[in-house]
């Protein structure tokens, strides 16, 4: 790993944890955390620079500290604190442009790691069941965070062309879940009754937040023998969970909503301030998305500790039981089974 590491978006929980882990790496001299708002969590001795990556000031930060490794974590669907969709989009897209511009001008930069998302593939019924990194989506995301991520990746590719001496890694994460996550999806799973789209049972994939930290550290380090950590990689836990399975494992009843009424229900929930359903999230919860992780295993050399089901289980444990805890249902069935005579004496 480089000696001076710059991490953007450190006001987020996950970035904060990552910064603390990077600080413990033996060959790292300094870690500089950048965000527009001061973080509520401590950064484990890392320097915090309050800077908005949308402003050219970020170039000065890079030059002043002689940064050699940049980790861009500030690509996200939500902003810590308040901020409408416009501010989120601006931070994602303009922020990335400014940051990449600054990196291009900074000769010391050797490595760039960008946190992206598998939502760049979109969710559509006419797509293949499993996406690989090279597969272009049939229908590009039309808006929202997914579109931001597509644009961000476009700029990152442009940067990689202009600065071939910089190792660039783009990690496309599946839905991140864990005891501490607060993503729109974890908000959805926190609802007492889960609204689902009638007649659709999407396939979902999750990656545990611990695995996210581990794979980002792996991408920041120099590649191990026989692996390559520059390029684009899907990162997801093994296996697939259906939305109906997640609901049952959480012990939450579902309410199927007809597709034409879904946007209306989402709007009501949004107005009520319960949860923020973006159109892309509705699409994910309708059609689902599964990515192939062969590249992650074979080229990047990373094996996640948690499977999709394991990550979800860890998340579910941290949230407490729902209205219909699976244990109780199981006990109910067991009791029913106890009523059934076992021997063949009845016939």
């Amino acid at each position: 790993m480089g000696k001076v590491v710059l991490v953007t978006g450190v006001a987020r929980q996950l970035s904060g944890r990552l910064v603390r882990r990077v600080m413990r790496e033996p060959d790292v001299d300094r870690v500089i955390g950048v965000d527009a708002v001061p973080p509520e969590h401590h950064l484990g001795g890392a320097e915090f620079v309050r800077a908005d990556i949308r402003h050219p000031m970020i170039a000065r930060v890079l030059a002043e500290h002689g940064v050699d490794t940049v980790l861009h974590m500030d690509v996200s669907g939500t902003l810590p604190g308040k901020g409408g969709r416009a501010a989120v989009k601006e931070t994602n897209v303009i922020g990335t442009m400014q940051l990449l511009g600054a990196c291009q001008k900074a000769p010391t930069v050797r490595r760039l790691v960008v946190k992206s998302t598998t939502s760049v593939y979109g969710s559509a019924p006419r797509d293949p069941a499993v996406f690989t990194e090279t597969m272009p989506p049939k229908s590009l995301p039309r808006g929202g965070f997914a579109k931001d991520a597509v644009e961000v990746e476009g700029y990152v590719r442009g940067f990689a062309r202009r600065r071939p001496d910089v190792a660039v890694a783009v990690l496309r994460f599946a839905n991140i879940l864990g005891p501490r996550t607060d993503t729109p999806l974890s908000e959805y799973f926190a609802l007492p009754v889960l609204p689902t789209v009638f007649g659709y049972d999407p396939r979902l994939q999750f990656v545990h937040e611990d695995d996210v930290i581990d794979v980002l550290l792996l991408a920041l380090r120099d590649p191990a023998r026989g692996t390559l950590n520059s390029g684009t990689f899907n990162v997801a836990g093994d296996g697939v969970l259906l939305l109906s399975q997640t609901a049952r494992r959480l012990g939450k009843p579902t309410v199927p909503v007809l597709l034409p009424a879904v946007t209306w229900v989402a709007q009501t929930l949004r107005t009520a301030g319960i949860t923020d359903f973006s159109p892309e999230q509705i699409r994910l919860l309708t059609h689902g998305r599964v990515v192939d992780t062969t590249q992650m295993r074979e080229t990047l050399g990373f094996t996640p500790k948690f499977t999709t089901a394991g990550a979800f289980c860890d998340f579910a444990r941290s949230r407490g039981p729902g209205l219909l805890p699976p244990e109780r249902l199981a006990r109910g069935v067991d009791r029913l089974a106890a009523l059934v005579p076992t021997g063949g004496d009845q016939t």
Binding site: P125, R126, D127, P128, A129, V130, T132, M135, V197, F198, G199, Y200, D201, R203, G239, V240, L241, L242, S244, Q245, T246, A247, R248, R249, P253, T254, L259, H287, G288, V290, D292, L324, P326, E327, R328, L329, A330, G332, V333, D334, R335, L336, A337, A338, L339, V340, P341, T342, G343, G344, D345, Q346, T347
Partner: protein, 381 residues
């Protein structure tokens, strides 16, 4: 025809009536003899398994359980102390359950309850494509089997042409207005293949747009007919079923029955060449006549976004009754596999070879169709 319609309706009502009937008796039984714990079990168990077998969300089931929890620690231990009349009734009901579920019904009930337990707790596995093997084996295939065995009386030939292990691409003709032939082919492979293989069908994108249909299709192991999905499945060593005629074959008029349409662009051959799996040609006779499509309401089809809107002698004139397929006698013949591992994987990029192989497969299926048609005594027997 009158005969034919009686069969499904009769079955339908029997299975539907079968659920509430035992439950009703269980309730009266519980009222008369609350002190006899061993009596309710077989009664309450029967509807429970059926409910578990049919419905996937078992969220409604804690209610009946909590209604009689005090009877849990009883089991069959109290059996000998039962009054004679109760025992007689139990025997009678055991016999009834025997007839309803076949022999060893109590083991089946236990099995069904274990299935229900896994279902309600979400403790089952699906693969990357959303294939739910347990649900397919236990429920979906059982729902299709009466149609397969009793209604279409499918006769399967040459099932051994599907290899016992490794990938294979089953290529079949497509007909019947509704893709019933694919489902029957799936049951045929599931029930008759000696190695118990599962056919993974490639379905049109329309299937994955429609609500409910897409959910069931994914759970039954179907996936979108695209080269990426087919290749992934074949590389995993699955048996993949494809109908290259697509909607052209499915929605062709009755007058063109058993005339194979163009086989797409031969993408299925290219995929088989890339993965080196054998191609098994499959001919299905009988599916053409289930819904004789005499007309096509193109305007309605365009309005609904469907590739065609069938007009048959009964549909849409008789409404939902017109949806009942004619009870034709089916034959599914799997032909000799055509090996592709003798070519290099790069051969997939050779259009001439791909066209030739496509034609070979098409000819084989067409000839087998003619042969089977000559052998056929009548459409319905």
């Amino acid at each position: 025809m009158a005969d034919a319609k009686v069969i499904p309706f009769d079955e339908d009502t029997r299975s539907r009536r079968g659920t509430p009937r035992p439950r009703g008796r269980a309730r009266t039984k519980g009222d008369t003899g609350p002190g006899s714990p061993a009596v309710p079990p077989p009664l309450s168990a029967v509807p429970q398994t059926q409910a578990g077998g049919g419905g996937q969300d078992g969220q409604e089931d804690p209610a009946p359980v909590s209604a009689e929890p005090q009877e849990a620690p009883g089991g069959s231990a109290a059996q000998p102390s039962l009054p004679a009349s109760v025992e007689a009734l139990t025997d009678a009901l055991g016999g009834f359950a025997d007839r309803l579920l076949g022999g060893l019904w109590d083991r089946k009930v236990a099995h069904g309850l274990a299935f229900l337990r896994r279902r309600v707790t979400g403790d089952y596995e699906v693969d990357d494509f959303g294939y739910d093997q347990e649900l397919t084996d236990q429920v979906l295939m059982s729902l299709l089997r009466p149609l397969y065995d009793q209604y279409f009386r499918v006769e399967v030939k040459g099932i051994e042409n599907i290899p016992d292990e490794g990938g294979a691409l089953v290529v079949s003709n497509h007909s019947g207005t509704l893709p019933m032939d694919g489902l029957m082919m799936q049951v045929a492979v599931h029930d008759h293949h000696p190695a118990g293989r599962h056919l993974r069908l490639l379905a049109a994108d329309l299937v994955f747009v429609l609500p409910v249909v897409n959910e069931l299709a994914r759970k039954a192991g179907h996936t979108l007919a695209c080269a990426e999905d087919a290749q992934r499945l074949l590389e995993r060593g699955e048996v993949v079923g494809v109908m290259p005629e697509g909607f052209k074959g499915l929605g062709k008029p009755f007058s063109e029955r058993y005339k194979l349409q163009r086989f797409g662009r031969g993408g299925f051959v290219a995929t088989a060449l890339k993965t080196g799996v054998p191609i098994v040609p499959c001919s299905i006779v009988g599916a053409e006549e289930i819904y004789p499509m005499v007309g096509n309401a193109k305007t309605v089809a365009r309005l609904l976004g469907f590739p065609y809107f069938p007009v048959t002698p009964t549909f849409p004139w008789l409404g939902p009754l017109g949806m009942v397929p004619l009870p034709t006698k089916w034959t599914i013949q799997f032909g000799e596999p055509i090996p592709t591992d003798c070519y290099a994987p790069e051969a997939a990029d050779d259009p001439m070879l791909v066209f030739n192989l496509t034609d070979q497969v098409r000819e084989t299926i067409q000839h087998t169709l003619y042969k089977l048609l000559v052998q056929r005594r009548s459409v319905f027997f």
